[in-house]
């Protein structure tokens, strides 16, 4: 196994899987993932292990939505309007059974709650900068929403997920777009931050 297949077990693959697990996805569910960045893309790979009928990727960045599509998700572009409305349109007016929030800001958190079907589950692993935020409490209440959020204890997921990577049921290295020497790290940070050069995951070699 190469470093590029293994390294994400320590953080973003475990986090993505943890999010999918927290979503309580059951076979046949419709699942939407907010955020097609590294964690969101690995949450999409993980979600597929639980047998969803349809998987949707919500983001604004075209090249990231394209990779999400290659990984088996149906792209939902934020540029085309309210994601909750789009997702209802794609699911017969019902909304996804499970929404995985992989961004970590008030807007996608709110949109996740607005998107999920009544009785559905929102699982959030986005790292919030805000110490507190507002959310549609009334809608969440009347939807009988289940909400799970938190920081993944990656240590508990590394060993169980390792065999899934080994046999190719999870392919975390698919998200790698750049590999550069440590000396080029400032450039790596810059392109990842600005979403330049179609950057998704930047690897560094000492």
């Amino acid at each position: 196994m190469t470093d590029h297949d293994a390294i994400f077990l320590g953080d973003i693959l475990s986090t993505g899987y943890f999010c999918a697990e927290n979503g309580g996805i059951r076979p046949g569910d419709n699942v939407a993932v907010f955020g097609a960045g590294p964690v969101g893309l690995l949450a999409m790979q993980s979600a597929q292990l639980f047998g969803p009928t349809r998987l949707f990727a919500v983001d604004r960045v075209d090249y990231r939505l394209k990779l999400a599509e290659e990984l088996g998700a149906e792209p939902v572009s934020l540029d085309r309007g309210d994601p909750a409305e789009q997702l209802r349109g794609l699911t017969g007016g019902r909304g996804p059974d499970v929404v995985l929030e992989c961004v970590g800001h008030e807007t996608p958190f709110t949109q996740a709650i607005q998107s999920v079907r009544a009785g559905g589950t929102v699982a959030s692993v986005g790292v919030y900068v805000e110490s507190s935020l507002s959310f549609p409490a009334r809608e969440a209440f009347f939807k009988d929403l289940t909400l799970k959020m938190g920081i993944c204890n990656a240590r508990n997921y590394m060993a169980p997920l390792l065999p899934l990577v080994r046999v190719g049921k999870l392919r975390p290295s698919r998200i790698i777009t750049h590999t550069m020497g440590l000396g080029e790290a400032p450039k790596g940070y810059a392109i990842f931050d600005r979403k330049e050069d179609r950057a998704i995951k930047v690897m560094l070699k000492p």
Binding site: G10, L182, M203
Partner: protein, 144 residues
């Protein structure tokens, strides 16, 4: 050794920093073979992150490598083992819980950002560093 260090919003540089060494019995020094830039590193990159945004703070928390040196309290890995390192730290030795324990039996994970040279040529995790808790040897997932 070389490390990526923080110097201001959007300003990271590759600099020489002190070689890591074993300080506490449960410390491990790794030779980093691969590291990565994580989305949560961007918080630090944008100047959000308390102690982590001081000038010279070492960036990064996604890395793996081989064990170069270890303290006498480390039982789960040996010199030369290739290991993956979790970004988070859980106090397994403090609570007595193990990897298979239910969440209620373990303390919440604490983010372990940067403290020591995570994206550099080597990493150690001395408990007195910027890392909130030391990564114990049990935190490393040994594999072949």
């Amino acid at each position: 050794m070389k490390a990526i260090t923080f110097h201001g919003v959007g300003d990271v540089r590759v600099q020489d920093v002190a070689e890591p060494k074993v300080v506490d019995p449960t410390d491990v020094v790794l030779k980093i073979t691969t590291s990565a830039v994580c989305g949560s590193d961007l918080h630090q990159y944008h100047g959000r992150g308390g102690a982590l945004v001081q000038t010279g703070a070492v960036m990064g928390h996604e890395f793996m490598g081989t064990v170069e040196d270890l303290g006498p309290g480390v039982k789960q890995v040996r010199r030369g083992d290739r290991v993956i390192v979790p970004f988070s730290v859980s106090a397994v030795t403090a609570s007595g819980a193990s990897a298979g324990s239910p969440p209620s039996a373990r303390r919440p994970a604490a983010p372990c950002s940067a403290g020591d040279s995570a994206t550099s040529g080597a990493a150690a995790r001395p408990s007195g560093s910027a890392c909130p808790s030391p990564i114990t040897s049990a935190s490393a997932c040994r594999w072949r």
